[in-house]
């Protein structure tokens, strides 16, 4: 079965074709990062407009890459939510219209379920049940995954998402947008022990996260020390040390909550997905922790950590096999949609 996947929930237009026998057979992505960089964040209207601009050529390129026409597909999957409503509607309108026009089923995919299932694109893949840490610019979730569609949120962030804390700290340090990757690169040259930032919520029971206090502590430390720097070398070292200390605090917090959740649930597999799962230090920390505490960690390959069409195509294929989905003509987008509402 061949399924087209369409992702347009935020600032990436992703189109892919997944074949349940042959795996991923085509995958195209356009990122709007440069468009939004000058504003320091995603501008929803500009994002929607750019999806409209890019979606047709990307679909054509994806079909060419696969050597298929749209008529050869068995179903169309698209991200129906959560996300920016205007951006979601572009993918929903295009995806549903293709499916309707050709009398094929259209599969509404939950964006976070796409991330959660992204590691299934890899050769070494997890099997249900598992624990999942979904960690991105918009989410920080610990999810107990029993089976496809059976998700229980064990922990969520009370304020900023982890990726958002990375991006805001990067902005504070004068790094380009989106700054998560720059923090990670800079941290390699810094001393993570120079500043002991708070490890939010670790001293409390439960699996929820909070990153706004850490963000404030980082800002106060930066502002206190930057005025004492007498040359560029000192300033650069301070920047690297703050980045390293901040990153260490986030990663230790994420890792310890994962371990706590593993111990509570008894899962032996941990799936880590979403934009922050591209962080090498997080990957290494969780892999080492797994060796000590007897669980195995699974990550998507780097290009499937951030938003992409491939994960939507895979999730769509699994959904399609899981439930009887008939063709219909109602286009809907769900800007707010909890993973727990799925079944």
């Amino acid at each position: 079965m061949k399924i087209l996947g369409i992702e347009s929930s935020c600032d990436e237009t992703g189109i892919a074709i997944y074949d349940t026998k042959a795996g991923l057979i085509a995958d195209q992505l356009y990122s709007q990062i440069e468009l939004h960089a000058q504003y320091g964040g995603v501008v929803p209207e500009l994002a929607s407009r750019d999806h409209v601009r890019k979606i047709v050529p990307l679909i054509q390129q994806t079909c060419d890459e696969a050597g298929l026409t749209l008529k050869d597909l068995d179903a169309v999957a698209y991200t129906a939510g959560p996300g920016l409503v205007g951006a979601l509607l572009v993918g929903a309108c295009v995806g549903k219209s293709i499916a309707w026009a050709l009398d094929k089923p259209a599969v509404e995919v939950h964006h976070m379920e796409g991330h959660l299932l992204a590691p299934l694109l890899e050769d070494d893949k997890p099997e249900f049940p598992f624990l999942c840490l979904l960690v991105s610019g918009g989410h920080t979730l610990l999810v107990d995954v029993q089976a496809l569609g059976s998700y229980k949120i064990l922990g969520d962030t009370l304020d900023d998402a982890a990726g958002e804390a990375f991006d805001k700290t990067a902005k504070l340090l004068g790094l380009p947008y989106p700054g998560g990757r720059y923090i990670a690169a800079l941290a390699e040259q810094g001393d993570e022990k120079r500043f002991k930032f708070p490890r939010p919520m670790l001293n409390r029971p439960g699996l929820d996260f909070s990153f706004s206090g850490l963000k404030t502590a980082t800002r106060m430390t930066w502002e206190k020390h930057i005025v004492t720097c007498s040359n560029d070398a000192e300033k650069n070292q301070l920047q690297a040390d703050v980045a390293a200390s901040f990153q260490a605090a986030v990663i230790e917090t994420l890792a310890k909550k994962c371990l706590r959740a593993i111990e509570q649930t008894g899962h032996q597999q941990l799936v880590v997905s979403g934009g922050v799962s591209a962080n090498t230090s997080l990957r290494e920390t969780l892999a080492q922790m797994g060796e000590v505490h007897h669980f195995k960690s699974f990550f998507p390959s780097m290009k499937y950590c951030t938003d992409n069409g491939a994960m939507i195509a895979v999730a769509g294929a699994m959904r399609f096999q899981h439930k009887d989905i008939k063709p219909h003509n109602l286009i809907k987008a769900y800007p707010r949609w909890s993973l727990e509402q799925l079944s």
Binding site: Y39, R49, V52, I55, C93, V94, G95, S97, N329
Partner: protein, 216 residues
């Protein structure tokens, strides 16, 4: 020729079908429901005429200016349909559509038509047209301005939501403030020359007119 038309750039969710020389249509004022309604309307029109989806030979749609989301719903539905059916497309201005309706309802030999819709944020989308020698000519491109900048003198008809209260009338034009664009007009406007003017969907863009959308 079998054509479908879609216009969703205002509160009117409008779809039409041309088949065997007849136009059938569905219009519903349904703000924020356009995405949910539009394919169902096309389904109804096709089945009423006993047409299969694969018999559609082309698509006409309203490209704006209008509500951004509405403009994009028509645009992206048409992107999906045109790619799936491999049929060509014509995009038509919302303003031109409204002027055409005025002229089509009461055909006169000579007439100046001013179309202006509320564009929110204290501005209006507008364009001027003239009927001459039994054809409708465009006098100005679609534009976005403050209502005070719109001069109504010399026009015979003023149409569009900007004439409820935004644009002050000077002169003695007939006013149709409740005028809305519709899909049946799109088909009338392209009939006879669809094949000449239609393009591949990849060459077609929406017309937002308002390009400044970030305010710091």
């Amino acid at each position: 020729m079998n054509l479908i038309a879609i216009e969703t750039s205002t509160e009117n969710c409008s779809v039409a079908l041309l088949h065997a020389g007849n136009i059938t249509s569905r219009d519903k004022v349904a703000p924020q429901k356009h995405a949910e309604l539009v394919l169902g309307f096309i389904d109804e029109l096709l089945s009423e005429q006993g047409l299969k989806k694969t018999q559609v030979e082309g698509i006409v749609f309203g490209q704006g200016p209008g509500a951004f989301t509405g403009v994009r719903i028509a645009m992206s539905v048409v992107q999906g349909l045109a790619l799936a059916w491999e049929v060509p497309v014509i995009a038509i201005s919302t303003m031109h559509n409204m002027a055409h309706q005025i002229w089509h309802k009461a055909p006169v030999k000579q007439q100046k038509i001013l179309v202006a819709n509320d564009a929110r944020m204290g501005e209006v989308y507008w364009a001027a047209f003239e009927v001459q020698n039994e054809s409708l000519l465009r006098l100005t491109e679609d534009a976005l301005h403050a209502p005070e900048a719109i001069k109504t003198e010399g026009f015979d008809v003023c149409a569009g939501s900007a004439f409820y209260s935004m644009v002050k009338l000077k002169g003695d034009a007939d006013v149709f403030a409740d005028s809305l664009p519709n899909a049946a007009s799109l088909i009338q406007m392209t009939q006879g020359n669809f094949k000449t003017n239609a393009q591949h969907i990849s060459a077609i863009k929406p017309a937002y007119i308002r390009e400044k959308v970030v305010f710091n």
